[in-house]
């Protein structure tokens, strides 16, 4: 027991230390962001570009900190998380992302249904689905379709998402990594996928990414998840 206990205690301590560090970072960053936002109108015009750039860079750092928080939180399913129905969550996220997909001339089609629920706080489930679908939208080629199927099996519900024509899914952001900007966005894309994977697998679902001609992912929800937070 102690052999298993020690690593999990260490993990918990590491997470606490990281959480504290992020907490400490957020305080000065809030001051910095507010200060830049308020001073942008007050500085002389020739300095505005510099302040504006500083603000943009600060917001990038803040975005990374938020991702680190989400990554840390992803392994904590929430002690009182009520199971959230998967099908409506998928439809909502697909609808929310449809205007972004349309800009890239990509269509998202949702078909089928399932009764599965996932024991994770609803905003976190939506975040995970949002990150997975967003990555596919980024990877998909223009004028293609992302197909989403919900299926009910005898022992599990399945969410299949497939891109008709796309680049490699998991290397999404790493494409075109010639510039520093691309490299950063690639890293962030990978972190988002890692967050989605952590959220769903911590809740007991099984996520498999699929590359190849039709990149996408398959999420399997065992039936017991709807009624319990641990396997029988």
């Amino acid at each position: 027991m102690s052999a298993a206990y020690q690593p999990s205690l260490k993990l918990l301590q590491d997470q606490e230390v990281l959480g504290e560090l992020l907490h400490s970072l957020s305080q000065p960053l809030t001051s910095l962001r507010c200060s830049l936002e308020l001073s942008i109108d007050e500085v002389a015009e020739r300095q505005q570009a510099a302040v504006s750039l500083a603000l943009q860079q600060t917001e990038k750092v803040i975005g990374m900190i938020q991702l680190m928080r989400e990554y840390l939180d992803a392994e904590q399913p929430g002690s009182e998380a009520h199971p959230v129905a998967l099908a409506p969550a998928v439809r909502t996220v697909a609808e929310e992302l449809s205007s972004i997909a349309t800009l890239r001339r990509i269509k998202i089609g949702v078909a089928g249904t399932c009764t599965a629920s996932v024991p994770v706080p609803e905003p976190r489930l939506r975040l995970a689905l949002q990150y997975l679908l967003s990555a596919l939208i980024q990877a998909a080629r223009a004028n293609s379709e992302i197909r989403v199927w919900l299926e009910e099996g005898s022992s599990e519900s399945v969410l299949r998402v497939e891109c008709e024509r796309g680049a490699r899914f998991r290397d999404d952001g790493a494409r075109g990594s010639r510039s520093q900007r691309d490299s950063v966005s690639g890293t962030l894309g990978k972190v988002r996928l890692a967050i989605a994977s952590r959220v769903l697998e911590t809740a007991g679902a099984f996520l498999a990414m699929e590359d190849g001609d039709r990149p996408g992912f398959v999420l399997r929800i065992p039936r017991w998840l709807a009624t319990s937070s641990s396997p029988a």
Partner: protein, 227 residues
């Protein structure tokens, strides 16, 4: 309006104070929980901006005391805790809204305005900026008496801009409030939809109402952008 800020980080507190004063609010500050609780209970405020992580008496205890004695006083929580459970606990304890650090001042100001509006005025069904009007009930938009056809997202975006008329809103604020998504700096969806709106709302009319605020975001304003 009179606002109390309870925040132990004096640098942050002074920035928030400066920003809210620029919006013509009278602002008091307290830098620990005990002082904040005493001021909130003793004096009349229209809004309390309360940090959760305070030395001495913590923010949640201050919130509980305020709720017992002043049930209708709006409280906006500032917190570094982003977990869903923490947010639920804040709202269950009686907070009216919360903001996770590192927040944008523009977001704080917008939330403060929404809380003040909610507690003082009935919700407006028709929003107006100069000759542009948006009817939230009938979902109709007109400019200079001419009907403007908007898609659902365009309508939501225009409504958000008009609810914050005269004030700057950032791209992350727009994408979070209008699209209900986490902001991804690589997407240009906001800029594209602003262009759609400009074509419908500003093209052929004078003056232009939708303005780009360099380095910040956008603003709808009858007088022109501030930057």
């Amino acid at each position: 309006m009179k606002i109390l800020i309870v925040e132990d980080d004096t640098a942050l507190s002074s920035f928030i104070r400066k920003g809210l004063e620029a919006e013509h609010h009278a602002v008091d500050t307290a830098d620990d929980g005990e002082q904040g609780r005493a001021m909130a209970l003793e004096f009349d405020y229209d809004l309390v901006v309360l940090d959760l992580n305070l030395p001495g008496v913590d923010g949640l205890s201050v919130l509980k005391s305020v709720r017992q004695r002043k049930s209708s006083l709006p409280v906006l929580i500032l917190t570094a805790r982003s977990r869903v459970e923490d947010r639920v606990q804040c709202l269950d304890t009686g907070a009216d809204d919360y903001l996770v650090k590192p927040f944008s001042f523009l977001e704080l100001a917008a939330r403060a305005r929404a809380l003040l509006r909610r507690s003082h005025l009935p919700s407006e069904s028709v929003l107006t900026v100069r000759d542009l009007s948006l009817d939230r009930v009938q979902r109709k938009v007109e400019r200079a008496g001419r009907h403007i056809e908007l898609t659902t997202k365009e309508f939501a975006l225009l409504e958000y801009l008009m609810r914050n008329a005269g004030r700057r809103v950032t791209r992350p604020m727009i994408i979070e409030h209008v699209w209900n998504l986490n902001f991804d700096s690589t997407t240009n969806v906001v800029d594209v939809y602003i262009n759609y709106l400009r074509r419908k709302v500003d093209d052929g009319f004078s003056p232009a109402l939708i303005h780009t605020v360099r380095g910040v975001g956008y603003q709808i304003s009858p007088e022109g952008a501030s930057a």
